[in-house]
């Protein structure tokens, strides 16, 4: 059995015939070739597969692609189009992760960045405990999180100054 879906991903529209059981993460990676979204646990715990679905973070390993039909999706590849960049094609949160060494192997990073983007939208000025709490659905085995926390603080500052 197959189903038809229509989605907008990173500003582009797609129509696909898919099996209803196809997970959103596999749709993005295997059908659309957007491999920046990673799979780390398959049990909705690690957050590596985080994408923005209609502006909200979701774990795309625990969403069926059919559930996303009609929705707008942003993956790490399309993030920079979401905010004023510095002319380098990077979203301020991406810049901040770079600046503060918020990544090592980079595997958790796309999910971490998207989770941080959602946090900063809801709370432009988060405290460290708030950052740690908001990122508790994203696991990183490399960085020990401290540079990630610093990156989010740095991004918050940057986004404020750019808005002015």
């Amino acid at each position: 059995m197959s189903a038809e879906i229509q989605v907008r991903v990173n500003g582009k529209s797609y129509e696909s015939q898919i099996e209803p059981r196809l997970l959103l993460v596999h749709y993005l990676r295997d059908v659309l070739g957007l491999t920046g979204t990673h799979i780390g646990c398959e049990t909705s715990l690690c957050g590596a597969c985080t994408v923005l679905l209609d502006g909200k973070t979701v774990k795309s390993c625990t969403v069926l692609a059919v559930q996303a039909s009609g929705s707008e999706i942003t993956t790490i590849e399309g993030l920079s189009a979401q905010a004023p960049t510095n002319g380098n094609g990077l979203h301020p949160v991406q810049e901040a992760f770079w600046e503060k060494h918020g990544l090592q192997c980079g595997y958790c990073t796309p999910g971490m960045i998207l989770a941080s983007v959602e946090l900063l939208r809801a709370n432009p000025n988060p405290s460290q405990p708030e950052i740690r709490h908001a990122l508790s659905g994203n696991l990183c085995r490399c960085t020990g999180y401290q540079h990630i926390v610093q990156a989010v603080e740095f991004a918050a500052k940057k986004m404020k100054s750019r808005k002015r």
Binding site: M1, A3, P20, L23, E42, T43, V58, K59, V63, L119
Partner: protein, 291 residues
Amino acid sequence: MIPAPFEYAAPKTLEEALRLVERHGDEAKILAGGHSLLPLMKLRLAQPRYVIDIGRLRGMSYIREENGHIAIGALTTHAEIESSNLLRAKCPLLAETAAAIGDVQVRNRGTLGGNLAHADPAADYPAALLALDVEIVAASTAGARTIPVNEFFLDMLTTALRPGEILSQVRVTPLAAHTGAAYEKLPQPASGFAIVGVAARLRLGKGGKIEDAGVGVTGLGPKAFRAEAVEKALRGKKASDKIFTDAARYAAQGVEPLADLHASADYRREMASVYTRRALKRAFARAQGKA
């Protein structure tokens, strides 16, 4: 982790959904946020032939005041409950409980109705809903019926919902004056589910007398339950640390606690008391307008 194949339908109206659910009976699973069902399907512990996605039903996601109570649509997400101004003002316990569920991403997808219908023994809402004594509305092709929450959870993963029914709404009575409530949770370190979660609601009368108490406990046994012995030990008494400690001792009364890798039965029982006392103390502080 890949689910087994299934046929999929995404009805637009509740009537259509109910017809489908009725038609496919046992072979179908209702899909709401999918954050309990899809993990099971990926493990192939659930292999439904039909999946009926109610996520697209119109008008099932809302939080509004209706005839003196607050009505919450079954498809309302945990995130919506967590951030609802109406709930924060009139029933902050629910917002607080929602905030304790999983993580941001889980709260963005998971729904109130799905959480209740799934009846995971470690889910958070059941404790709060029991403490608040809410009503649950179940729809079917025959019409709607109301189930008091105290009769809703029957056993592990088993509720009073009948085949063909869809949980459509939860009705909450706003907290009365001089009432405080709190949810305290001991999370399982890996999954974040409750090893023990206790929701307490206290209404105070003159001189700090406890006029009414509601205590819901989750995580401890195969199903969430109202800790009636605790409530009884509180009602009519003057609130004090001592009375909370004494009453909290009854938290696990009559329950055979679960045991697993993360907590033995003894530990769960003991923690039920500790967390009950903590919830009571915080509820009390709030009833007095503190904290």
